[in-house]
Amino acid sequence: MISAVTESAFTERREQDWTRLDELTRVVTARGIGALGPEQLVDLAPLYRNACADLARARAARYSAPLIEQLQALTAAAHAVVYGPYAHRGQAGLRSSRARRALEAFPRAVRARWRPIALASVLFFVPLVLGAVATLRHPEFALRLVPGGTLQELAEAYAKGFSEGRGIGASTGMAGFYVNNNVGIALRCFALGIFGGVGSAFFLVDNGLSIGAILGYVASQGAGDNILTFVVGHSSLELGAIVLSGGAGMSLGWSVVAPGERTRLASLQAAAREVVVIMFGAAAMLLMAAGIEAYWSSSPLPAAVKRGLGACLLVAVALYMTLVGRGARDPGTSHEATDGRWT
């Protein structure tokens, strides 16, 4: 049965609680749940539930629109606080175990999406090899893909070798460039996958061809050994990350094209929740690659050391992607993983 109290009597009786809830909500919205003392924290949930009941009562009693609007705004704001992400903060295990979970989630997400990622590597490495072979046969082929001036500069730079090193200043400059350029490309490559995967595919083929052409051109000018020594250190991380973000982007696109038994939107959102982990991981890999490329690959260390370490890194990346996080699957993602078909 509804309350048979006039609106002013109702307001007068409940107003104090609403004011208090409003204050607490504003504090949490501005400064986080940590700003509340234990007593305030205990009060928050009952105040919110009572306000919800008041809103229901006010609607049933058909009180005036401003009162209902005010209560609605109050409960909506409090709802955002009570059901906020704060519940998981700080109590869901130690920081170290959260980092570990993230480290395991990345390769798991990669394995769950191995088919689009395999397709992405084909779309990237086949043009790369084709570009390199075509340029080795006819060096002018590279000019169609990369401006001639850039090619010339690169060829001269690699012909010099790394005996003098680059100096910390120039290396830092290049590190900034790699972060800005490479991570930006990877994120864009991921984002444009939303258009049915076409954007990612374009980025992959385009970058593959250009990189192949540059490798081929520098090699055709006689500095092939030098450029291989240079790229071997960071390429497993850098090229791997581009392929991963491209594969993640194509997963997004494919989830719209072939949503299976869900609506297209639901399928897209489910895929996005899964592959966002891959996007973060690829960005982290590129940050590492930028560090290696700027400070290690250009250093005057002997070629054998660089190649040996590059090979070790490649093996480490491969082992990480294939082995880490096996067995310890959490139920949430394993369900999603089997659901996201790639046919």
Partner: protein
Amino acid sequence: MDEPLDTDVTIEAPEHIVFRHRVAGPGRRALAQVIDLCVCYGIVLVVSLTVIIAFAGLAGLKGAFGAVMDASMGIILVVMFAAQWLYSFLWEGLTGRSPGKVALDLRVVMVSGRPIGLGAAALRNVLRAADVLPAGYLVGVAAMALNRRFQRLGDLVAGTMVIVGGRPGRTAPLALSPPAEPFELAVLPPVVPLDVDERVAIELFLRRRATLGPARADELASILMAPLQARFGFRLPDATRTLALLYDRAVNVGRSEGPPSSRGAAGLWPLARPPYARRG
């Protein structure tokens, strides 16, 4: 409840309470974006100048001008990267709103009404790269036009929406003033059944009354009164006063602690079942 013809989104809480959120339209969001761009690249400019000046000073001390300038360029490029990819992501992921959105009272929430986390913030901001295509957020605006929540592609992927945060101020309930006179109570019908639309219309009018000139108020009140007069068969010389009396009785009838004007009816009026079915 019938759907309002408005840019509102309704959400049901676990307490079975239905909230309405007002969804922000493209104009307001574009303005917020412009403010964000100004703030963000303003910071980039200041940081870049500081770095250049600091490093130029360093170069003056050490002498290796070229190398030091190279390093400062590297740092500036990292700052540019952060401006493009991290600024909105971190603001929205950690607080739900960027400075531009604060300025226009906007907030990013999940479509369920809950606050967004870092994952959703990352998705909606990385997908910005698709929304800005081919120029000036054309793809984003096209996507916004095609759904009820004004979601651009990034919002669709992340399951987020941008709402207008406005909290309406507190308004006192309407009270009949001055209180009803005996002669008014004598003519007032004991029961005034109004349907929801009529009640809301009268309420809106009574709340606006103070801002209207007397002639205009009387004119509007007469328009409102016309159908009611036919139904209840009475009207006082002052149409506004008549509306106030009718409203007061309709709203407060049968409620305890009500003013005398609401005590005409014998017993409780069955408020739970309004005499007029709601429309729609």
